[in-house]
């Protein structure tokens, strides 16, 4: 919608103050990877040349971006024979043709093998931090996103749910500042911590989740009472947990209300 492919019922989106279709050289401003779309019989290099010509870039740009995404050796092979990871790279190369200041990537890690994902992570960081581009990634691979991005926008059922840096989201999430303790004397430790006014949940016979405290406080309490500890860790909420907390109940395609309730519990 932002790129003018779909007609919005209302509202609009602008890049540098202009709707996408009014940009004089749109692919110089915004490079987008929305799907990995190629004619299977056309080589990767020729695919790129098509869009070089259409946008008026020198044909040599095709070779430059192939190099950039590490496809230089495969450039003359038919795109139909590419692996999923190579397709993602070719799509990324297409988006980079115009050397845009903004990149919009839809699920760029889909179909990548572990090496490919690691490469993509480094490449996106390089584009954003070293080259100073804005990189907008939409993804459902939240663990992956967490390792790559600076700021997160969570959208649920078509509405903005939360926006901020990962640290900000973590701070605002439920369970922030909770500590997980494992001890053979969990019951005794629970009593001591409750005595300090902390909220303690006994997860099972040897495991506690304490909220409103720090690892230092729990450690000191245990040490003073001579309680043996097997594990002491502060629990930071993962992006996935934050996501479920924020979107539960609004998810459009949730299997059933019971389903989202379960998800919420898991996140606690």
């Amino acid at each position: 919608m932002a790129l003018g492919l779909l007609v919005a019922d209302s509202g609009g989106a602008t890049f540098n103050g202009r709707p996408y279709r009014d940009l004089p050289e749109p692919t110089r401003t915004v490079g987008a990877v929305l799907e990995t779309a190629f004619h299977p019989a056309r080589s990767g290099r020729n695919h790129l040349r098509v869009y070089c010509r259409a946008a008026g870039y020198p044909i040599a740009r095709a070779d430059e971006v192939l190099q950039q995404v590490g496809l230089a050796d495969a450039g003359d092979r038919r795109a139909g024979g590419y692996s999923l990871g190579m397709r993602q790279r070719l799509a990324l190369a297409t988006a980079l043709l115009g050397d845009p200041s903004v990149l919009v990537l839809d699920e760029p890690a889909n179909g990548l093998d572990p090496e490919g994902i690691q490469w993509l992570r480094g490449f996106l960081r390089h584009l954003a931090h070293t080259e100073g581009r804005t990189v907008l990634v939409s993804s459902h691979l939240l663990a992956e996103v967490e390792q790559t991005v600076d700021r997160v926008v969570i959208v649920g059922a078509g509405r903005l749910v939360r926006e901020g840096s990962i640290a900000e989201l973590r701070a605002g999430a439920e369970g922030a500042g909770s500590v997980v303790v494992r001890s053979p004397e969990a019951g005794r430790l629970a009593g001591l911590l409750q005595g300090l006014g902390r909220h303690v949940e006994l997860e099972d016979a040897s495991r506690l989740v304490v909220t409103g405290t720090t690892t230092e406080e729990v450690g000191a309490t245990a040490f003073a009472a001579g309680v043996e500890l097997h594990e002491l860790a502060s629990r930071s909420s993962g992006l996935e947990q934050i996501y479920f907390q924020l979107t539960s109940g609004t998810e459009q395609y949730a299997a059933a209300p019971a389903g989202s309730a379960t998800l919420q519990e898991v996140s606690r």
């Binding site: 779909l6 779309a37 004619h39 098509v50 869009y51 010509r53 259409a54 946008a55 008026g56």
Partner: protein
């Protein structure tokens, strides 16, 4: 616009579809020219080599190869949707009307040398084969006009193909639909007395009006047919453009 036309040519010539269709068109035109020449005067209903009707028949048979160029145009447009390259294409050129206009122009221009090749194959086959059988038709004004008319049909059908592709978008649907229309619907319309009067206004009727004035039941003048056919090509392209600009690209 010239950048977009060149981009369309790059698309066209970086797959082999065009080659297959061009060879098919040449084979069809050359093959039927040879068949008519071989049977001229021998088979009942086929005029003899020295009959001007033979010359007109054999030089207008090239127009039948238009079906290959129609398919070329259809594939040229529908491949964008079939292989989803419409997305990068319309991202590069958000003014979609410009894309379709460039495609129409690129395919019309490419169809000219292709049509010339098909005509050249026809002429060479006829000159050699009919010459060997004793009497090659002269390339006089009449026969050149017939050849030019066939060439015009070939080019216009390419443009119609692009327009049909923009309208229908589904490649198989567009090709099957176009073939069913040309080979089933039009002949039936022409054969039913009550509605056969409409035939001369249809693309097939226009083609017949342009390329032949014998065995013509009720047809337009050749120049009228040419205008009508051009109008079909332009209308298909314009409606296709209007639709492509409004439809969502998924």
């Amino acid at each position: 616009m010239s950048a977009l036309v060149r981009s369309e040519w790059t698309k066209l010539f970086t797959t082999k579809t065009w080659l297959g269709l061009l060879l098919g068109a040449c084979a069809l035109a050359g093959g039927f020219a040879a068949l008519f020449t071989g049977l001229a005067g021998e088979d009942e209903g086929l005029p003899a080599l020295d009959d001007p009707v033979y010359a007109e028949l054999v030089f207008s048979v090239a127009a039948n190869a238009s079906v290959f160029l129609l398919i070329l145009g259809i594939i040229g447009m529908t491949q964008e949707y079939r292989h989803r390259t419409a997305t990068p294409t319309f991202l590069t050129t958000p003014r979609r009307g410009r894309v379709i206009a460039a495609k129409v122009l690129a395919y019309a221009l490419v169809a000219v040398p292709m049509a010339l090749l098909v005509l050249a194959v026809t002429v060479v086959v006829v000159q050699i084969y009919a010459g060997a059988r004793g009497d090659a038709p002269p390339l006089n004004a009449d026969n050149l006009q017939t050849l030019a008319a066939s060439g015009l049909v070939l080019v216009v059908f390419t443009v119609i193909g692009v327009g049909v592709g923009a309208l229908v978008r589904n490649q198989v649907g567009a090709i099957v639909g176009a073939l069913v229309y040309l080979n089933v619907i039009e002949p039936i319309v022409a054969s039913i007395g009550a509605i056969s009067g409409a035939y001369k206004w249809l693309p097939g009727g226009a083609v017949q009006a342009i390329t032949s004035d014998f065995e013509a039941p009720d047809l337009l003048e050749p120049w009228q047919g040419a205008i009508l056919l051009l109008a079909y090509g332009l209308v298909a392209a314009l409606v296709g453009t209007a639709l492509a600009s409004r439809r969502d690209v998924l």
